[in-house]
Structure formats: C-alpha cells, structure tokens
C-alpha cells in the first residue's frame, strides 16, 4: 500500500482525510495492526512546546520621515538590543538578547526577567513595543535618532526565523556536585537531587519521522500558532547520532530551521521564557504533519515514550567541560513517571517542555487538516539522512598566537 501527498491532499480538500495525533496512532495501530492502520489513516499530527533558544524574528519598520538608516547603527526594542546590521529599516531580534543594563549573573543566579523572547511574545500578542535607535547619518539618510512605538500590525513584514528548533531528542540533566546549579535545563539540585528533561517524546515531530522520510525543506508546519515552513536543516544537525533498532536517536540528532509569518502567530505558542541563572529564551510551539505514505512511515509514528531513550548527563561536571560521559540511559516513560534511577538513587524529574501543550498543538493541527484549512507539502529537498555523513563538530580552538 502506498499513497502520495497529492492523493492525501485531495482527501483533505474533500473533508475526508483520516487524521489522528501521534498519541492516538499508538492505540489505533495496536488495535488494527500496522497494515490496516496505514491504509485507513492519512495523516499523523505531532507537536512539541519547549524552550528553543536559537529563535528570533526579523521585521521591516517602514521608513521614517526624514529617513534614518538603522543598518550599522544601534536599535533597542523595549530596551532589548536588536541586530541592526542590514539596510535602513530591517531589524532582527534574537530570543536570548538582554537589555544592556540587565545585571545578568552579577548577582547570581540572575533573574533574566525580560529579553528578546519576551519582545517576540509581545509583538505576537499585538502589544506596542518601544523602539529607540541611533544612527550615524548620511546624505540620503540624515536622521541620527529615532524614538517611537511600533506595533506588529503596522510593520511591513514580521517573520519568525528560528535557526534551531524541535531537537529530535535531548539530554536528561542532573547535577552530582554539592551545589545547586542553574542551567538551561532548569534548577538542578545538588547530589542528584533532581533531573531536568525536555522533549514531547512520542508526540515530538522528529521522533515520529526519525529518519526524515517525509519531513524536509519546504514542509508546511504549525509554527507558533500560525503556519510556517521548514526552511533548512537546523544548526547542530547531527543525523549520525546512535539509534535504537526502530531508528530513533538516543541523543540530540536532528533539528529544524523554521520560518513563518509572525503576524498570524499567537502568544499562546510563543512564550517569553526566563531561565534562572541562565538567560532569556523563547518557548516555541511546533507541530508537523506526517503523511502516511506507506506502512514503514506509519510504523515510525507508533513509537512510544517507553521506546525512546535519552542520555543522563551531569551538568555539574561533564557538560560544562565537554566531557562525553553519560550516567546511563532512561526512557521518556520513566521520566514522565516522576522518578528515575541514577547511580542507584531515585531522582525526581522535572520537564522543561509542556506535554499538555504539545498535545494541544497536535490536536489543533489535526483540526486544521480535517477542516481543509491546511494542506500537506512535498519537501523541496530532503534533510541529510542518518547515512549522509553530516556531523555536528565541536569547536577546535586554535590559539591566536599560533599561525
């Protein structure tokens, strides 16, 4: 049995497509068998909702009168610095940007209450944002100062562009030292007092298409409550990571670079995030539809939390020093039970990504497709597969004194 994306889209247009979530397909395949389920089900929807630090947004503010050239100058949005290194009216803001006067970790652990991620959330929510900018002035762009409110509805374009989102799998973070540590995986209590993890597991997009048979460049997705696209492999793309028999990576692996119109997105799925002692970020909601083109693709979507393993990494010692050492492996079913065993000790677990909201995204995408509002796309080009030889390299430092 094989289907094409065109055939599935025809069914979607007629309102006849059978669409289920990655959570529902597990039981369906168990009841009906993979063969029958693959014939009957057309699309499996996935979802994830977690802090994704390599996120950002660019926009065009329109030209001031008299004109000002922001490029090469300085620009701030609600006191958070934006990247002003393009032409006159384009700005980019990254999720981790912080106001110049934020004390950061000088008073450890720093609060990081407001940063680039919060600006992006406020933009999406339709709030006015205070833009202050300075420039050097030219004959054609004479102005040197600009202070104004801006609002997303007045911007020419506002685009969410995230260079690394939707990590296929991730570390489980613990702390073996005697001090509490403050990490991007949350507050980690000393002496294996807690464990942080972050994945939607069986619901997560790349867990349901672990070898990238359907997700590729150009895939249309749910992004931040609106419609977006996979633009490119995400940074730190590492398809050669070790995998289990069912093809699921046992660590980081693939990521997605995504893009979409920020104007149609919602602050429910783009949430400014503060990691105590670490920094600001943006929690992003992403949902990817998996077209059930054949039995193999369906089989991948039946993966369960019990079958997905993640490495336990010590963020107190080995992680900061880039020592490739794992304290063992644990499944997402164990992580979600609230306790895992590490070095014989029972360790309570905390999630950084929201499973309930990931499910909400998978269900929303399911409704969009069922109502004919969202059609599937054939990728324009594939993502590098497990055998592509693409590798995530560490930085090889070359001291500046040497030639």
């Amino acid at each position: 049995m094989t289907k094409t994306i065109d055939e599935i889209n025809q069914k979607i247009k007629q309102g006849q497509a059978v669409v289920v979530t990655a959570a529902e397909i597990i039981e369906i395949a168990k009841q009906e068998g993979v063969k029958k389920a693959a014939e009957r089900v057309d699309v499996v929807t996935t979802g994830t909702f977690g802090p994704m630090c390599s996120s950002g947004a660019y926009f065009n503010i329109g030209h001031a009168k008299p004109r000002i050239k922001l490029g090469g100058g300085k620009a701030y949005l609600n006191d958070v610095p934006a990247y002003a290194a393009f032409a006159a009216a384009d700005l980019f803001i990254g999720a981790n940007a912080l106001p110049d006067d934020d004390p950061r970790n000088r008073n450890h652990p720093g609060d990081f209450n407001y940063g680039g991620g919060h600006v992006i959330e406020e933009l999406a929510a339709g709030h006015d944002i205070r833009l202050t900018a300075s420039a050097y002035g030219t004959d054609c762009y004479p102005r040197k100062k600009l202070e104004t409110w801006i609002n997303i509805k007045d911007l020419n374009e506002a685009v969410l562009f995230n260079m690394r989102n939707a990590y296929q799998n991730y570390n489980v973070a613990v702390n073996t030292t005697d001090k509490t540590i403050y990490t991007y995986m949350g507050v980690l209590k000393p002496r294996l007092g807690s464990a942080g993890y972050s994945s939607a597991g069986q619901l997560s997009p790349l867990m349901n298409d672990p070898c990238y048979k359907t997700i590729g460049i150009g895939t249309r997705i749910f992004l931040g409550g609106g419609i977006g696209y996979v633009a490119w492999p995400g940074t730190q793309f590492n398809p050669g990571a070790p995998r289990t028999e069912n093809g699921v990576p046992r660590e980081g692996a693939a990521t997605l670079c995504v893009i979409g119109d920020l104007k149609q997105m919602s602050s429910r799925y783009l949430v400014g995030t503060s990691m105590l002692g670490y920094g600001c970020s943006l929690t992003v909601g992403i949902g990817v539809p998996i077209p059930i083109l054949n039995e193999e693709i369906l089989r991948y979507t039946t993966v369960t939390d019990a079958e997905i393993l993640a490495p336990i990494i010590d963020y107190g010692t080995s992680y900061p020093n880039r020592i490739p050492e794992s304290l063992g492996e644990v499944s997402y079913a164990e992580l979600r039970s609230g306790k895992i065993k590490v070095q014989g000790k029972s360790v309570p677990t905390a999630s950084l990504s929201s499973y309930p909201r990931a499910l909400e995204i998978a269900n929303t995408l399911k409704e969009w497709i069922k109502n004919g509002k969202f059609l599937l796309t054939d990728p324009v080009a594939p993502l590098p597969g497990p055998d592509s030889g693409v590798k995530f390299k560490p930085l090889n430092e070359r001291p500046l004194g040497e030639v």
Binding site: P109, N113, G186, V187, T349, A350
Partner: protein, 144 residues
C-alpha cells in the same frame, strides 16, 4: 460539638504576619508562646530594623487560645493574612511544563499521570518563594 468543645479543639493555621516598623522591636512571638500557649513554626522571615517585617508562621494550639493570640497580634498592630492567598498561579501564563515540580520543597506541584497537567495545591505551599523565579514563563506570583 458544644461551644466549649469547639474552643478546646486544636487548630493548625499558616498565616503571614506583617509587622509595622514600630512593633518590630517587641518580643511578640515570645508573648504568643508564653501568654497564649501557641506553638509556632517559622516558615519564612524577613525583618529588618529599618523596614516593615514579614513572617510566615504555622500556629498550633487550642482554638480559644488561637483566637486570643490573633486578637493580641492585631491589637499590637500586626496585620494577619491567611497564607494560601500569598502565592498564586497566573493560569494564563502557566504552560504546564513542570519545571516547578522538583523545585518546590513542599510538594505543592504535581504532574498528573497520563496528561502531565501540572497542578498547584496551594494548601501545601509554604510560601518559600523558590518557584517564583524558577518558573520559566514566570507564572507564579508572590503577594504580600
């Protein structure tokens, strides 16, 4: 239960005490033990000689003693507030991630098995404030 039995009944209450500047120097808690036979357990305290003081305590004793003790505190100028109102969750900001679950020393947060929806049981909250800054979307709010 008769009125008399009611007043004999033991109560355990968690309250927030706000001390205005003028009473910070007085040995108020000592009087609570000595004159009203109330046990107290300090859950959180921040008093400076210059500013208003704040103390979160668990008071335990007979109802009649508790009532008289509260009366004494009020007469001394101490403002009393029920504890459970003091840490609240902004439901619009909470995403049910679960970062708070291991941070809370009192087990006030739980991830519901299956749905993973995070529940906040304010009755268990001891107002330590650890969740406030550990919450990534800053959904937990401290009200004094």
């Amino acid at each position: 239960m008769s009125e008399k039995e009611k007043t004999k009944k033991n109560v355990v209450k968690r309250v927030v005490l706000h001390f205005p500047k003028r009473v910070v120097d007085e040995p108020i808690l000592f009087r609570l033990i000595k004159d009203f036979n109330l046990e107290f357990n300090i859950l959180k305290a921040s008093i400076t000689p210059e500013a208003e003081g704040l103390m979160v305590v668990e008071l335990k004793g007979e109802q009649s003693n508790y009532d008289q003790g509260v009366q004494y505190l009020t007469n001394s100028g101490v403002r009393i507030q029920a504890l459970s109102q003091d840490v609240t969750r902004n439901e619009d900001r909470c995403t049910s991630c679960g970062a708070c679950v291991t941070v809370c020393p009192a087990g006030a947060f739980t991830s519901e098995p299956g749905t993973m929806v995070v529940r906040f049981n304010s009755k268990k909250c001891v107002v330590c404030g650890l969740c406030i800054k550990a919450c990534p979307p800053r959904a937990m709010e401290l009200h004094f």
